[in-house]
Every structure is written in C-alpha cells, then in structure tokens.
Subunit: 282 residues, 2 copies
Amino acid sequence: MNRTEAGRAERLAATAMRLVSAPSVQHNLDPLGDAAGVARSTMSEDVRLLDRLARQLDLGRVETISGKGGGVRYIPTASPDAIAATLSAFAAQLRDPARVLPGGFLYLTDLVCSPDWSSRLGVIFATAMRPARPTHVLTVETRGIPLALMTARALGLPLLIARRDARVAEGPALSITYLSATTGRVQNMSLPRRSLRSGARVLVIDDFMRGGGTAKGLIDLVTEFEADLAGVGVAIATAHPAEKKAGRFLPLLVMHRVDEGSRWVEVEPNAGLAWSGMHRTP
Amino acid sequence: MNRTEAGRAERLAATAMRLVSAPSVQHNLDPLGDAAGVARSTMSEDVRLLDRLARQLDLGRVETISGKGGGVRYIPTASPDAIAATLSAFAAQLRDPARVLPGGFLYLTDLVCSPDWSSRLGVIFATAMRPARPTHVLTVETRGIPLALMTARALGLPLLIARRDARVAEGPALSITYLSATTGRVQNMSLPRRSLRSGARVLVIDDFMRGGGTAKGLIDLVTEFEADLAGVGVAIATAHPAEKKAGRFLPLLVMHRVDEGSRWVEVEPNAGLAWSGMHRTP
C-alpha cells in the first residue's frame, strides 16, 4: 500500500472517531480536511463513505450541513430492526421475576439508570422525535434523568430538569402543581425562569407513566413558559388506565400486568413505535 | 486504489465507529474480524493503528484485552493538555456575571446538566479515577446525575443514585442521615438494598461540594453496604471551608468567591488534578 492510500485509511478512521465521539455536533468541514491536508471534494467523498458505513452498522448516519462554513455531523439513529431487537431485549430484562417488588411494583432503577440502556433507549427516542424538531429535552427528577440526558445527547440538545421543590440555588423559578396517580398526592414541580424562553420546542421524556399526571405537569410547565410541546416519550407505560392525562405520547414498552403472587410480568415492546392516547381537547 | 486497500480503509473506519460508540465496552475481536473477513493478526494491526489515532486525536486509547475470547475496547481518556483546556473553558463559563444569583449562589444547572459538559467532565473523572478500579459510580439526586452518568459511561460501570427519601417503588432500602451545610438541615439519603453488594468499589461523584456533608453521607452509605470507597470526585468545590467532612476528594475546579454586589466569580481550574483534603481518621 502506498503512502496516499495508508493516509486515506487513517483519515477515514480519525474522522469516524471524531464524529461518533460527539453525536449531533457540527464539525467544520474545512478544519477536518485541513488537518489531514486534503481537498474539500475528497472530504465529501469520505463523508459519503462514512455515511454508508454508519447505516450498514446500524449506528445512524453521517450528513453534510450546507450553508456558511459548511459542516458534517454524525446523527445516531436506530433502524426498525434494531429498535425491535433492543426493545425485545429490554422487555426480557423487565420480565425477570426478581424485579417484582412488594405491592406489585417493578424494580426498574438499575436498567433505566444504566449508561448502556439509557443510551440505547435515548437513541430510539431521538430517532422517533427528531422530525418534531425539538430544541430542548425536559424531564423531572429523578429516575427519568439518565434517559432524558442520553436522548438530549443523541439529539445534540440541552437538558432541563424540573425539580419537585424550587431551590434557592437555582434562582427565580416557575412552579406548577399536579396530581400524581402513583403517589396519590398533589405535588409541586418547578423550573428556573432562565432555563426556557418562549418559542422553544420542548420534548418531554420520562421513564414511567401510569396515569400521566407527571407528564401532564411537565406539559403544563411547558405551556407556562409559553413554549411549544414537541412530543412526550416514556420508556414504559402501563396499559391501564388506557386513558392518560398526558394526551398523545410515545411509549417504548407497554406494561399490562405485574402479578405479585406469581411474580409474572406482562410487558410488550412497542416495536412499531405507535403513538398512544389522543390529542387533548383544549 | 485496489480493492483490498479500499477494504482496509472501510474496515478501519467501521471498527472505529463501533468502538467509539460504546466506550469501555469489550468487543469480541473475532466477530469484529470475521465480519470484515480478515485474519486476527490483521485485526491486531488495525487495533494498534486505531490506538495511535485515538491518542493523536486526544480521544483516549484502544486496547486489546487478553484472555479467553480476547477482545478490544475503546477507553476514553483526556490528556493533561486537554484536561487543562476543558477546565479552563468551563471556568470561563462559570465566571459569566449573569450566573450570580441572589444570596451569592452560582447558577450551574445548565452547565452540569448539558450533554456536552457532563460528558467532557465525565471523561476527566474517568481518567483520574480508573486506576482506583471502581466497580460502581454513586451519586445523590439531582444535579450530580448527568456528571455521574457520563463518568459511569466512560468507565463502563453501572450508576447508582441515592434518593432523598426511600421510595416504595424501589423496594427495601438502606438509609442514613447527614447534615447538609448548604441547607443547614439534617437530611436523609437511601439506596435500594439490592443495588450494591459487599466488596464493591464505589466511586462517589457530585457536582458541588461546600462543607462535604453530602459526600460524607454518600461515603457513610457505602460503608453501610460494606462496600469500599474507590474515591470522591466533585466538579466544583468551594475553597472555604478548607476543612471538608468528606476526607480526601478530587475537585475539578475550586471556587474561591462569588461576590453578589459586583457579580464577580473567582474560580480556578484544578488542571493538575491535585487531590484535596486529608484521609479521615477513623
């Protein structure tokens, strides 16, 4: 192999590393090319090849951004087959009888907080929600944070975390109250005033939905900021009640039943990413 | 360029993408090679080249794991220069006068929760803490979660999140009480019984340390589980009080003063990653 060809292999691998290590971040085409001492047309060829490889490996795609400066970025996405496989593997984990807790609850924390699962589910949320062009990802403390962070990372967006109590250390905040079906209590939720401007498009992500009260609280918070709702995604939604307060939402898995006695967990992947619920009437 | 050489470039780029998209995850060497139809010795050459590129790009290293099956993984690390540059850029963000809140607090939430900063600081924690061979990363809700998750991702470890109140939905839990200097109140912290076994080596990560009460609470929790402490890392520690309850810890930045009147923020990167505090006497 001559020097130019060895150089091409290295340049491609180096570009692949840089792009994949910072998903959805725009890299300027010129510095990427300049560093390797190649022409812009050669870089464009490289980008096309990397895009093909990313698709073949089911890691997403690599795209060129036109306009001043130009640029290239890696967009992590999951194919329908990869989504089905991931959700099926996640459902199998959930069915482990050892996860059934007293009261018929299911122990989820280790899964939804793991870097691996939160990252894989985050890429699925990003794949489904990107067309809605969100500008921010919003969740409420605590257990939804890893999923929301990994979704934000895949989309290249900032993450907002609503708090259950307004903290002095975060400055002036907007608060709403909502009824949580899980705890049966009226709860409080707040977000710093400075964290969101009107006109933002907010994607709401949480790990679990039963009655939809928490998601509705987050939606109310979005409205209070005069921002728009880009969508609502939850990792696991219960099948009952079928009518949720949150309006239209995307569950990755639907949980039909947890039987405490037999430790039987009935949960199914929503592999086709079908939306649930109705648009709320105003 | 002939077909073999084009194949090599593609194989290298594809391997780079797969490795970097799942940091610290072991990939089996054979399937990586088999997919591309090349011999193991060729794959070893590829791994050496990818390792050199990762180091040149300051993204970390690629290493071969010997033993049954063999394997290869990408380890994200940051060089001393990259650490200094990242922490200096982070300090510049913190000095923004608009961050000074009533009461002399500093608004940090958007930074420590951003996918980009949490990921960059997480790689720094991982670089510093890997030699202590942690098996778990532990934080307490809420604002430290993104940093802890990204540290866990870089290290390829599970994340544990202590809760301020024991939740029925997480099953039996171990609780401790601690005095928070920030709030001046006795607080509660709990972790599900099943989340940690004795013999684990726990790395504690949080975003902010003033008196060290919260970190000490987390350390007490680790002790309660009969697990070992691998280290304590915080993004920002205040210079005062110099004596912290948490014993020995690694701050990424040291905050000397926030002046509410002049909106002046005195904060310095701990670019050399020098440890603070003393080993606690038992």
